[in-house]
Amino acid sequence: MSKPKPKVRKEAVPMTKQDPKERARNFNEVALGYTEEQAVAEAERCLQCPEPQCVKGCPVEIDIPAFIKLIKERKFAEAIKKVKEKNSLPAICGRVCPQETQCQAQCVMGKVGDPISIGRLERFVADWERKRGFEIPEKPAPTDKKVAIIGAGPAGLAGAAELAKLGHEVVVFEALHLPGGVLMYGIPEFRLPKSIVQAEVDYVKKLGVKVRLNCLVGRTYTIPELLKNGFDAVFIGTGAGLPEFLRVPGENLGGVYSANEFLIRVNLMKSYMFPEYDTPIRIGKKVAVIGGGNVAMDSARSALRLGAEEVCIVYRRSREEMPARLEEIENAEEEGVVCRFLASPTRFIGDERRWAKAMECLRMELGMPDESGRRRPVPVKGSEFQMETDTVIVAIGRTPNPIVQQTTEGLQVTKWGTVVTDENGKTSIEGVYAGGDIVTGEATVISAMGAGKKAAKAMHGYLMKK
């Protein structure tokens, strides 16, 4: 490992963000991205390690030093080409990947200062290209094999792009009215603008992928039907879209939302523009968000933007155990979101119209670590207290979508409802593969994309032998 040269800046080039006070009232993107000068300056910090560790931290194995070197040389068009050799959705990944626990966690510069801002650089080149129009790689020779992808989320899109690049005919079946999955319905506009998601989906389409919307596989068609109707293989990328509830009294009162409902209304249906857009949302004065993950942060920050006076995140463990990205917790707090740790709701209390007016919580203390390695929250007896709240958003996790499993005979499923696969995404049915949250349970966008790509490679092998 070579020692960093003294002239290298230890601090990362900061990225400009909207002012917290201002951004807490609008849905525009918070982080504004690097300028060319900033990107080049940041790229210059990269040591170009002969044995790069960062690549090992990337689920889709982008040649990180190579693309950064090209940025340093101001060869932006070549830099994005390099990224796209491995990743078809770079503007999305540059924004929502948890780089701090992946590529950047491995960066040697992290030992002496800030790691290279790989995510920001990826975002920069992706945005640079999108503004100029995508370059479409040459179409490969067709293999005459046809693949159905179920779900136009991160796993499905990544898999679809990969298979199209290998010359297969690919049709993505999406149940909702827009492609993107969680990128559209889950992640808010201020973190991932929807126009960027649609632009990257358009790129995937330009690779030759067809996207069929409004088609719920399991109801509109089943997997056996697809296999009988001209498809040689199927990939299941249906994700984890079912909301978990606390199962405490009063959870069905008015004003109590699952984070999924809240975010679907705001993001997919654009209810922050109601009544111009038809889908309404009701936001009260005092909002309580239950949970400590990124979805809780997204919900809390959206609630603020919708005009809530107070937004409080209620989490049963402490700050250290919060699964949300540190950056998102900081963003939320800067904007005025308050966190209340070591508390868990036991019931919601309604008014005469059956609308939430308060919730009762129990205080928690941390006990021994559980299977996740985090200290287990233990309720403190007799510590009940009440919090006034008129809007509650329950963000405690999502479970796999069950419809495909219920309607596909012979598909092996775990007791948690996830689809059983081998390490390459092969399921118990010949020609049927799966990947992403439907296999692992709720995880990250990039791990789903990695799984989609991996399965695509295995499917290619299967198809070419068939």
């Binding site: 149940a175 109707n229 879209g241 069905n252 999924n260 979508n401």
Partner: protein, 289 residues
Amino acid sequence: MDRTLSGLREETTNLYEIVTKRELIPHINLFEFSAEEVAEKAKPGQFIILRIDEKGERIPLTIAGADIAEGTITVVCHEVGKTTKKLGGLSEADCVLDLVGPLGKPAKIEKFGTVLCVGGGVMAAPLHFQVKALHEAGNKVIVIIGARTESQLIFENEMRQVCDELYVATDDGTKGYKGLDFLKDMLREQKIDRAIAMGPIVTMKTVAEFTRSYGIPTIVNLIPIMVDGMGMCGACRVTISGKTMFACVDGLDFDGHQVDFEELMARLKMYAPQEKLSFVFYEKGGRSL
């Protein structure tokens, strides 16, 4: 299940065309949409979600019929708010942007014996789809259709052709029985093996209350507020025997004796102020308020 799908669409065509539109009574329209793939699968008790345009909301509509040969599905829609009013303003050959289905579990259709079917208001239409299937399955089907007043009744003639006995009830007594109280006598006088109620919550609740003491299995078809309609949002949660269920994937049919109707009624009113605002905004031609 593994048959060839003639309607398999690989591209999003954005063409869910209104093939037929018929005004049944003022503000209640019957639509036949061109949706071949949905028609192939649609069963009584299931629903579709549609969205009229880019800025539209997703609304659930219970399927009132399907024609596989024509590739169409039928829904009947009552104009009660902005979206339904806008839908009512569309004409034949117009299209809606999005239509997905069939969603939800199909109603149980088998030979039960004597089945009592009660349909209130606009829901007489989807009930007709189910009555037809129950009749074909060899049941004796007794149907009651109801409305606020005589002029609001729909599907009377259609229903007569597919059931064994037809009764009409109106809230104000302008046609047939006044209210549903006559049902009490009917239940006392003959053996009913199964009851099905579709319509306003009060209708379903009343039927369930009347059948309870006779121990008649009673199915109600619940359509709470929905967004995705595929189990993702939980907006449609209902309490059945003290347990939370999602109407969109666990229903729409539920045991009428176990439903928390009060909760359902409150949840249906959750967006009442917004719905009103949206309607006013629409009536003013979308200009800012």
